[in-house]
Subunit: 334 residues, 2 copies
């Protein structure tokens, strides 16, 4: 087991858990038997779920936790609930180095608070950030921050660039990623003062670990020319959710417009289209900047989506993301 | 002519102008003969364009202007170019009350600068805002600001709510619109300090002209439950462009996925889908807060899109938007 990637999972968090979690583990084992799972949750429920697929015990251990943080609790009340929630114990297990990485589909706010409470930040980082994978014309890019920090300084944004490029290298390609700052125009004088100062620092300092491509506007996030898009958590959250809303609006209207007959006739081509844009592939935001990685799955995703998050966890540990971030960090006068 | 809506048009601004402008006027006349157009631009080019459709002279007058502001000029250099550009003269004609409203598909930055230079703000408004129409499950909503003001105070956001609700009433329905503030969550404690203060002012003061519905997140902009969505110009610009980028990404992938055969088979249903989401219908941002209305058409739109902007101009003048804004404004301790 020592060579395995050890993933701590909050088995109670998110819709249809723990069933979807156990289903996801089963799905993930079809392509990858490298992982071992520590499942935190109500033992009797989890055991019942595994009872008809006992081979899973070769790949996981159940640790009983009595309490559960609800999805609609406030972040603080969730975090303060007890030290025996499935989420708390999951994060604690990476603090104690029992597991390499932790994964939860539960309450995002509580997950961020508990992670900050239990885990130290990487030396040099003051604000950890939430990064997501975003589909583009080539493959995927990384966008951060998505809501962990409402207000960010130029130092924070530069840290995000370093952490985002380390994540991109861990997940996709170990070459120098191209990074850009999300802004309302491409010209150097556009945007607020913090963006302008960040731009000038990144332009003047030659970066070893990424290439700085200047500003990017919202309509070019998905073009595939930029690998890491950096923004404050307020703007990133609005951008991500607006993109989600637009995609939902279009698919709903497309579905309503197509007759059953034409859906049948276009079945294979529409399936190809849906497969490419399947949001489950992009499931899993990554909380970066802490001494251990914390992955957040979408609460509403299904077992296929959760299995994608498991695969992200596996890649992050194998690529040694935390070390990559440490060696990526730059000190500039910001 | 005195009963006509007099629209001043910058006939040289935007792609394929002035041809698309003249085509658009011809299209608009098919459904509405209420308008009279003052066309500012190079007289010889405009006359050549009208030469084979002389009936248009019943509905327009050409005023020669020698200079043109280019689309890729900086806002300031465009605005300072000369007082004889088609754009400058267009705005001047509403300042002098020769026309009721002005319309341009040219350089947005220069249009905002010239409008601010030549036109006074409505008493009580310190920052005019750029509003756009956004499709939703029911019909359309108004979103503002979209980039005129990078940073906004609570007073500005409250003014935007008043102006946006006056615009909504002018274009769609004279009932009390529902307004909401764009934020990263629904809870009262979410967001930055300015949003929190704006929220508490709008919550505590009973508004005569609109109902305050609290916060809205990016993924619900298109649900159709809110009529006016208020945000600062930085966030609004990112949201609008991200939605545009997402829509383009999806349509491109849909097109690539469908075979020619299935496009043929689904022709009518796909046409219905495209018609509903046709961005030309939502063409036309409106610069609100000045003593005369200025409408900005998308530079890349075609004659059908520009004709939609003409129809927006007609509705705004008939509904007496400026008076509606004046009577909508509220004074609160912000």
């Amino acid at each position: 087991m020592s060579n395995k990637v050890k993933i701590a999972i909050d088995a109670m968090g998110g819709e249809n858990s723990p069933k979807k979690i156990i289903d996801a583990i089963e799905i993930s084992l079809k392509s990858n038997k490298d992982n071992f799972f520590y499942l935190y949750g109500k033992k009797n429920i989890l055991e019942k779920e595994i009872s008809n697929r006992k081979f899973l015990y070769n790949f996981c251990e159940i640790i009983n936790t009595e309490d559960v943080i609800l999805d609609d609790e406030s972040a603080l009340s969730g975090a303060k609930k007890s030290k025996n929630t499935s989420m708390w114990k999951t994060i604690e297990s990476i603090k104690e180095k029992k597991a390499d990485i932790s994964l939860s589909a539960g309450n995002t706010g509580a997950l961020l608070v508990i992670s900050r409470l239990l885990l130290k930040t990487i030396p040099g980082i003051t604000k950890p950030a939430l990064a997501a994978l975003w589909p583009n014309q080539n493959n995927m890019n990384v966008v951060l921050d998505l809501g962990a920090n409402i207000e960010c300084s130029e130092k924070n944004l530069i840290d995000f660039a370093c952490m985002g490029s380390a994540l991109f290298k861990s997940l996709f390609s170990n070459t120098k990623p191209k990074i850009a700052l999300l802004n309302v125009g491409l010209e150097e004088y556009k945007g607020n003062e913090i963006l302008k100062r960040t731009f000038s620092i990144l332009k003047e300092n030659k970066m070893k670990n990424f290439d700085f491509s200047g500003y990017i506007e919202g309509n070019h996030i998905m073009d595939g020319n930029i690998d890491v898009i950096v923004t404050d958590g307020f703007t990133g959250n609005i951008a991500l959710k607006t993109a989600e809303g637009t995609a939902n609006f279009i698919s709903k209207n497309l579905k309503n417009s197509l007759s059953k007959f034409s859906i049948l006739l276009s079945y294979f081509s529409l399936k190809k289209f849906k497969d490419k844009l399947d949001p489950r592939k992009y499931n899993g935001a990554i909380f970066l900047g802490l001494q251990s990685p914390v992955v957040k799955s979408h609460g509403a995703t299904d077992s296929v989506g959760f299995a994608h998050s498991i695969s992200v966890c596996n890649k992050i540990v194998k690529a040694d993301l935390i070390k990559k971030i440490e060696s990526n960090l730059i000190t500039v006068d910001a």
